[in-house]
């Protein structure tokens, strides 16, 4: 065949037609579906070696054990550790999305560190009062703060008051009846895995104005008029033979909307179906005092020892409650918000500050908490970046010590609050965590639990170095509960006078979502907030449609929540499940500044 142009065209044409009889062109056409699957701009997940690591979640004191799936060094999925002795294979939505937190758009990345240091150093040098407010006491860092405050002339360490007393744990395993006044027992209270594991062992009576998730799953839901928990507690107390002498079941029934018979029945159940424990959402002393009357001390409320601490640390400053600090006495206030904990309304804190030029330094990962009131916001590491121990949860009867493993490197500008405060106080820098772990190992008590295989090895059989390595890799130290520990002293009832009924504040505020409100929340939580309304989003207030009509608001309206303590912007959600006299709000810092459970409020359209 000669290579003329015609022959060339014939060959090309023939090849083309022939190719149509092969799979090649057809496959290429179908493959365009795969090539065009995503346009540029859609992220392609990075590939790499799959690694399994372990950590413990520090988003709340449950400290659930976590199995981390990493691609290379990047965590891509967090999962529970099944059958773990502490967390029993449970995790909550916040924990499941913890690995997103380093990338949260609201995250603070830089802060005026030098200026803050200078301001603190100035006050320390002048002997003015320096206070550390630790929102999550019980950590090794908490001991560092206490040691630092002891090292300076006028230092004081403040932690939120513990309603049941520090070192008291709820022993659910011993309980046959649990009377909960709105405590979110099945919504993230304590260690969720533990509550679930023990659930079939006790009868749960939930006293609450709103049908919360806990109330819907409780054995019995007692719905009372909003804000009348104390009245009911006093009524039950009078039947049990304690409490205020001028209170009666009839009075309690009138206030709560129950019948006298119901009040008496509740009291009888507590007495006859014991051991019982009484819990409260807001730490009301009247409610918690019922525990004394039902003999909970030593049975369902027990003393829990702390994990061993180096002897040298015991000379640290004592724990002071905010109420004990004289007004206008604090020059520098250092607030450690780095680990999610309780939120104290700012108005209570502000009272303790000197009126002219107080210095408030907030160690936080975002500005929405105390950052709004602070002079200096210093960024801290967020959960998967931290190396920090997690204090035991309220239902943790046995001493326990576990840490978060540093899975991700923190960005360059973050500050270690403990190191900052220690340096400001002139404390010798050291490895506090290392010393603590050393002290635990030295005690020779307890077992080391490895998350990978759940093997429990007595501490005595582990070398100090291996012990330390295992804890930093997400292991857990567990001791036996102290049978011989003295029964805890429970607080006495101190009923506050009922606030006067305010006619122009027609609603009673009920707080929900206390777990995630002051803790960081992944953007993916929109699945539960905006995309399904399963949970109340942090910026929302829920009203019964009738109440909403009375307030002149509709679903989705911008509104202001007004209380005697201030006002806050909210978005309205209508929910027929909320009783008409109630406004349900998600417990975030802006709300908690102006609103406690039972606060009277009104909702005004913007």
């Amino acid at each position: 065949m000669t290579t003329t142009r015609r022959n060339l065209f014939k060959f090309a044409g023939g090849s083309f037609v022939g190719a149509l009889f092969t799979p090649v062109p057809w496959r290429l056409i179908t493959d365009t579906a795969l090539w065009s699957e995503n346009w540029p701009g859609i992220p392609v997940p990075a590939r790499g070696e799959v690694r399994t690591r372990f950590t413990n979640c520090s988003l709340c004191t449950a400290g659930c054990a976590v199995r981390v799936r990493s691609i290379g060094d990047q965590p891509v999925a967090l999962a529970p550790v099944a059958n773990h002795p502490v967390s029993h294979g449970a995790m909550c939505p916040f924990g499941l999305t913890g690995h997103h937190l380093p990338y949260h758009p609201a995250r603070v990345k830089q802060g005026p560190v030098e200026q803050a240091q200078a301001a603190v150093a100035d006050a320390v040098a002048k002997g003015e009062r320096v206070a550390v407010l630790d929102l999550r006491p019980g950590r090794t860092a908490s001991w560092t703060y206490r040691r630092a405050m002891a090292a300076i002339r006028n230092g004081v360490y403040v932690a939120p008051a513990q309603a049941l007393g520090a070192g008291t744990a709820v022993n659910l395993a011993n309980a046959k009846t649990v009377l909960s006044f709105g405590a979110p027992l099945l919504e993230g209270w304590g260690t969720p895995g533990n509550v679930i594991a023990l659930r079939d062992g006790f009868r749960l009576i939930q006293v609450e104005a709103v049908e919360s998730r806990t109330a819907s799953l409780a054995d019995q839901w007692i719905s009372i008029n909003p804000g009348t928990e104390t009245a009911l507690a006093l009524g039950i107390a009078s039947v049990l033979g304690g409490g205020s002498p001028d209170y009666s079941p009839a009075k309690a029934a009138a206030a709560t909307g129950l019948s006298e018979q119901q009040v008496r029945l509740l009291a009888r159940e507590l007495k006859e179906n014991g051991p019982a424990v009484v819990l409260d959402a807001s730490g009301s002393s009247a409610v918690l005092a019922l525990n004394t009357l039902v003999g909970a001390s030593g049975l369902t409320l027990v003393t829990r020892r702390e994990a061993p601490v180096p002897e040298a640390w015991k000379k640290a400053a004592p724990v002071t409650e905010l109420a004990e600090i004289p007004e206008h006495s604090v020059r520098v206030l250092l607030i450690d918000e780095s680990a999610p904990g309780e939120y104290i309304p700012w108005s209570e804190i502000e009272k303790t500050l000197v009126p002219d030029n107080p210095v408030v330094v907030a160690f936080a990962w975002e500005r929405a908490g105390y950052g709004r009131h602070a002079n200096y916001v210093l960024p801290t590491a967020v959960y998967p970046e931290t190396t920090e121990d997690i204090p035991p949860a309220i239902d943790s009867v046995a001493p326990v010590f576990r840490m978060t493993a540093p899975l991700v490197t923190a960005p360059a500008g973050v500050v270690d609050a403990a190191a900052f405060i220690a340096a400001a106080a002139g404390l010798v820098p050291g490895d506090a965590l290392g010393e603590r772990i050393g002290a635990i190992h030295k005690s020779g008590r307890g077992v080391l639990v490895a998350s990978s295989d759940l093997k429990q090895t007595p501490v005595k059989d582990v070398s100090a170095d291996d012990f330390r390595k295992a804890l930093i890799a997400g292991g857990c130290w567990l001791d036996a509960a102290d049978e011989k520990a003295p029964a805890p002293r429970l607080p006495l009832a101190d009923p506050k006078p009922h606030p006067a009924e305010a006619a122009d504040l027609p609603l009673v505020a009920v707080l929900t979502e206390a777990r995630g409100s002051v803790a960081p929340v992944s953007p993916l939580m929109s699945k539960l907030y905006e995309e399904s309304k399963l949970r109340l989003a942090p910026n929302r207030a829920a009203l019964n449609p009738i109440a909403a009509e009375a307030c002149g608001v509709e679903d989705g309206d911008r509104a202001t929540l007004e209380t005697p303590y201030g006002r806050c912007d909210v978005l309205v959600t209508l929910d027929a499940a909320i009783p008409p006299g109630v406004v349900e709000v998600a417990a975030r810092p802006g709300i908690l500044d102006i609103c406690a459970p039972g606060t009277r409020a009104k909702v005004v359209r913007v």
Partner: protein, 430 residues
């Protein structure tokens, strides 16, 4: 100045006046195209459709215009296959209406799907069980047929037919007109039916689900019937509208009356079939799925009034009017009945698309409502504007109404005022 393009023997308004007429429609078209462009560029979040209302205004309007555009195939069928020669007077207009309706619907569909560039997947990976595959194939083929049918009308333009190749081409094409009409009828039968089948096969939506014949639910046949019934009505309506706007007589009244009579007859058959189907659905089909029929109509505002409106007010009533010769002869009654018939079909399509999705299926569903966004309305208005513009240009430059010249000649001869709507011609010539 465009006199040369306008056919001999007919009068058209001056060019500036025509441009003035088109201006607002061009404006509307531009606005609508902008709305559509927003949807294509930013995505379908520009609409108010959501996961519960996966179909909204566009699908409802698509189904309605396709039903209304059925006049194209049906008139062709009646003229070329059943040899009803009076309809030659409106066949061209019908083809233009059909072309406009179908091409407009396709345009909206291109915006409605999430990935318009993947349109060819339906042809490459067809699912023989899916009614939507059938619809896609048939409508695409039918649109081609309509274009081929439109071509001769264009080529017969006074200026274009001066080109000999066009004249020959048009002549040869016209010999095939029976084939085209037959193919068009066949394709239309299937896609009109399949559009009904889209909803009738939805086992998961007992409101729409119907039993049927083999793989075709009763809605298949009901949609064909209703489309065939309303096609002539819509032709009637548009012709009347064209006469009113252009202030000319375009067709002999008996043509419109014939269209009305055909429409009325088919509408009556449809009403009977629909009533039987509805009774079977209420008493057997729906209860067997566990859904009692009465509960569909307990979700306000979709009360039983909607069912009665569809079948009686906009179904039986216009059918009876159109079947009554005396009423047919009065232009006012004729046009009103035709309009009611069209509204009835629109209501039926609305019920099948929107009400089907609005009524809950799970016991804990909420009844939700939906209002189209301006982008959705804008896109639809673009189709309306497009239709008006195509029809206006076709009316001006092409011979849509063969009888127009004859009627104008007669009017000039007798020097009478043209017969206005509502009058009966005393001489009884028509």
């Amino acid at each position: 100045m465009d006199r040369e393009f306008i056919a001999r023997g007919v009068k058209r308004c001056s060019t500036p006046k025509f441009l003035l007429w088109t201006l607002p429609w061009i404006g509307l078209l531009a606005f609508g195209l902008y709305a559509a462009a927003l949807c294509l560029i930013k995505g379908l979040n520009q609409t108010n459709m959501d996961n519960r209302f996966a179909f909204g205004l566009w699908i409802f309007l698509d189904l309605t215009v396709i039903a209304l555009g059925a006049g194209a195939f049906f008139t062709g069928f009646l003229l070329y296959i059943l040899k009803l020669d009076e309809l030659r007077a409106v066949i061209n207009s019908a083809v233009v209406i059909g072309l406009v309706c179908y091409s407009g619907a396709m345009g909206v569909l291109a915006v409605d799907v999430g990935q318009p560039l993947r349109f060819w997947f339906t042809f490459w990976y067809p699912n023989v069980h899916s009614m939507l595959t059938e619809v896609t194939f048939c409508i695409t083929c039918y649109l081609t047929v309509l274009v081929v049918e439109y071509l001769p009308i264009v080529l017969r333009n006074r200026k274009l037919r001066q080109v000999p190749q066009f004249l020959v081409f048009e002549f040869e094409l016209h010999k095939l007109i029976f084939v085209l009409a037959g193919v068009g009828t066949f394709l239309s039968f299937f896609h009109q039916g399949s559009l009904g089948g889209l909803y009738g096969v939805l086992r998961g939506r007992p409101f729409a689900f119907r039993e049927g014949l083999a793989v075709w639910p009763t809605t298949f046949f009901l949609f064909i019937l209703s489309a065939a019934a309303v096609g002539p009505s819509f032709i009637l309506l548009t012709t009347w509208l064209a006469e009113k706007i252009s202030r000319k007589r375009l067709v002999k009244p008996r043509v419109l009356e014939l269209l009305g009579r055909i429409s009325g007859l088919l509408l009556a058959v449809y009403v009977i079939a629909k009533s039987v189907d509805t009774l079977v659905w209420i008493n057997r089909t729906s209860p067997e799925t566990g859904f009692q029929a009465w509960q569909y109509y307990s979700w306000q505002p979709f009360g039983t009034w909607i069912l009665l409106a569809e079948i009686v007010l906009f179904g039986l009533a216009p059918a009876l009017i159109l079947l009554t010769a005396r009423l047919r002869a009065r232009r006012g009654w004729l046009v009103s009945a035709a309009a009611m018939a069209c509204l009835g079909v629109a209501l039926n399509r609305f019920v099948m698309t929107v009400q089907t999705l609005a009524v809950p299926t799970l016991s804990f569903d909420r009844f939700l409502s939906y209002t189209p966004s301006w982008q959705e309305s804008g896109t639809f208005l673009a189709v309306v504007a497009y239709g008006v513009l195509v029809y206006s240009f076709s009316f001006r430059y092409l011979q849509l109404f063969p009888e127009e010249r004859e009627l104008r000649f007669e009017a000039e001869q007798t020097e009478e005022l043209p017969v206005m709507a509502g009058e009966i011609d005393p001489a009884g010539r028509y």
